[in-house]
């Protein structure tokens, strides 16, 4: 089955992102395809390039990145929710006159329309919310 996940919880403070990762990894292990993860609401913080958790805790940003690198999962971040919360790629950082950027590939800033498309074009959209 072709899955999309909607992640709406911030990393470490809520279980939603941990659960989404575990679900996604388990689905892939069972032979399903995890084609898209969409980050919205506080879920956008899971794309923070500078996240530096203690070494004895799971590195959620790296785990999401690994889904892309190993399985081609697209990692899409709502641009409106991201900009409000300080998640900017190089282009948006330049556009807003900010030094440095906080989001980089394979995470990509995109519109909410992509969430609707993902929901309607995949076999399942599973929401992980706090």
């Amino acid at each position: 089955m072709r899955y999309a996940l909607l992640v709406q919880g911030g990393p470490y403070s809520r279980q939603a992102a941990h659960s989404a990762l575990r679900f996604g990894e388990a689905a892939i292990a069972r032979g399903h395809r995890l084609e898209t993860v969409f980050f919205y609401h506080d879920g956008v913080y899971n794309a923070a390039r500078l996240a530096a958790p203690p070494q004895d805790e799971p590195h959620l940003v790296d785990r999401f990145r690994a889904l892309h690198d190993n399985h081609g999962t697209q990692l899409k971040v709502c641009i409106a929710a991201g900009l409000r919360r300080g998640l900017l790629d190089e282009r948006e950082a330049a556009r807003h006159g900010k030094q440095g950027h906080s989001l980089e590939a394979p995470f990509e800033l995109t519109g909410l329309g992509q969430l609707i498309d993902a929901g309607l074009s995949h076999d399942r959209l599973i929401t992980f919310s706090p």
Binding site: Y40, H41, G119
Partner: protein, 124 residues
Amino acid sequence: MHDESLNGEVLVILRHAPHGTSWLREGLDAALVAAAFGRRVTLLFVGEGVTALVAGQAVGALGQKGTQPTLEMLAMYDIDTLLVDQQALDERGLGVADLLLPVTTLAPPELAATLAAHPLVMNF
């Protein structure tokens, strides 16, 4: 008996009160975008979410934009199927006369049928 005229393609479930968090605003944003992309959108207000429809709301004290102007704009986006959990209204002492827009109230079995009838369900 489930009224099939209430079915759309995208069901957006709103579960949160208008102030205190951005859930309602970001949920409504998703609904508006779906409608702008030409999808038939149904809104379903459940739990605390029913308070989003109470008339006479002011802007929040925390510098948030109010959500009432967005709700009043729904018709422009052809979002005119507003469903409300009757039980949630009852629990809060509210009736449809307290709400700022015309709605259809649903009893629990109809809620289940509504969920089953929409290809895409999103929870906010």
